[in-house]
């Protein structure tokens, strides 16, 4: 089942109070070295049929008119994942990355 991923971020020039709060929490917990945090949204839309030009045009429109508000946000990406397998792989990779976070790599080891 094809999945369409739409990423929306608050406009770069605007204050992002959520991101600011997270940045504060990072600093308080000793995770220094980050100069900023911004929080956006990811939408995953699934469709049954093929991804054709008509669908792409429709997605662009709803991304700009409904999923985001151009006064306060920007659509920063629309991408298409062809199958559940790909999406699952993407999640697996991300899960693997998270798993690694609990593992202290010996100096010099790279991923």
């Amino acid at each position: 089942m094809p999945t369409i991923v739409v990423d929306v971020m608050p406009k770069a020039e605007l204050l992002d109070p959520q991101g600011k709060a997270v940045a504060g929490a990072l600093a308080r917990t000793g995770h220094t070295g980050f100069t900023g945090v911004r929080i956006g949204k990811r939408f995953e839309l699934t469709v049954d049929g093929p991804v054709d030009d008509e669908l792409r045009a429709g997605v662009k429109q709803i991304a700009e008119e409904i999923l985001s508000n151009s006064v306060i946000e920007d659509v920063v990406g629309i991408h298409y994942v062809e199958s559940n397998v790909e999406l699952a792989e993407e999640s697996l990779e991300s899960a693997a990355e998270h798993a690694d976070e609990g593992y202290v790599a010996p100096a010099g080891e790279t991923h």
Binding site: P10, L14, L15, P17, I66, L67, V71, I72
Partner: protein, 232 residues
């Protein structure tokens, strides 16, 4: 005069708004978001609350409600429309008012009696006030920071469409201390603070005269009622 108050899933202040309408001498008409019928009302109020749990963006899903197509048509034909708090957010999402509302700059919900300056007494909802008059009504929001591009802000100011400005304290980081604005015609007004909570002695903000005696919000509703009488 009959004033419709629209209830959306998650509206909280619809009944307070109906009460304010009654105290101002008009008949409140409860309208439902899922209908396409304005039931012949003469004015509309979009009340405060947390429609759809503020999902997506505050007011965004409610602005796509069935009744909003009739609201938009009526507003464009000149019907007085007042959006309070979540209702203001809906009006911006529906493009009936410019700008947008974002999370308070300090990141927390705020609830206080807020002093405002009436910057325009020529809208349908503010003729009962003096230009420059200071009023105090409750404010309660988590996402009340008004923002717009510099160009839009300049235009709103230049055309006299900033209706209310915060005085003493800017409670949410709104640009240029803007608390409420209107459209070009002056019939659609949106603001974050809540006039419907300051309409009856004993239940309003404290004043120098007595506790909870503030009724500065009543002027919004009596303004629109008087306007209807003048036109009749």
């Amino acid at each position: 005069m009959r004033i419709g108050v629209i209830t959306f899933p998650g509206s909280l202040d619809d009944r307070d708004a109906q009460r304010a309408v009654r105290l101002a001498g008009a008949e409140p008409v409860a309208l439902w978001h899922g209908s396409h019928d304005l039931e012949g009302v003469d004015a509309l109020i979009l009340p405060g609350g947390f429609s759809y749990g503020d999902y997506l963006r505050c007011g965004a899903i409610a602005s796509l409600s069935p009744i909003m197509s009739e609201v938009t048509d009526a507003a464009n034909k000149g019907m007085p429309v007042l959006g309070i708090c979540n209702g203001f957010q809906m009006l911006t999402e529906a493009h009936l008012l410019e700008g947008g509302l974002i999370r308070n700059d300090h990141g927390t919900f705020i609830c206080r009696d807020q002093k405002l300056r009436v910057e325009s007494s020529s809208t349908d909802w503010t003729t009962g006030f003096e230009q420059g008059q200071e009023i105090t009504i409750p404010l309660k929001n988590g996402e009340g920071g008004f923002i717009a591009s510099e160009e839009t802000l300049d235009r709103l100011e230049g055309e006299g469409r900033v209706v209310f400005r915060y005085v003493d304290v800017n409670p949410n980081g709104s640009l240029r201390d803007i608390a409420g604005i209107t459209n070009a015609r002056g019939n659609v007004v949106g603001l974050m603070p809540h006039p419907e909570h300051a309409v009856e002695p004993g239940f309003g903000p404290d004043t120098a005269a007595a506790m909870r005696s503030g009724v500065d919000g009543l002027g919004f509703f009596t303004s629109v009622v008087r306007r209807a009488l003048v036109e009749a």
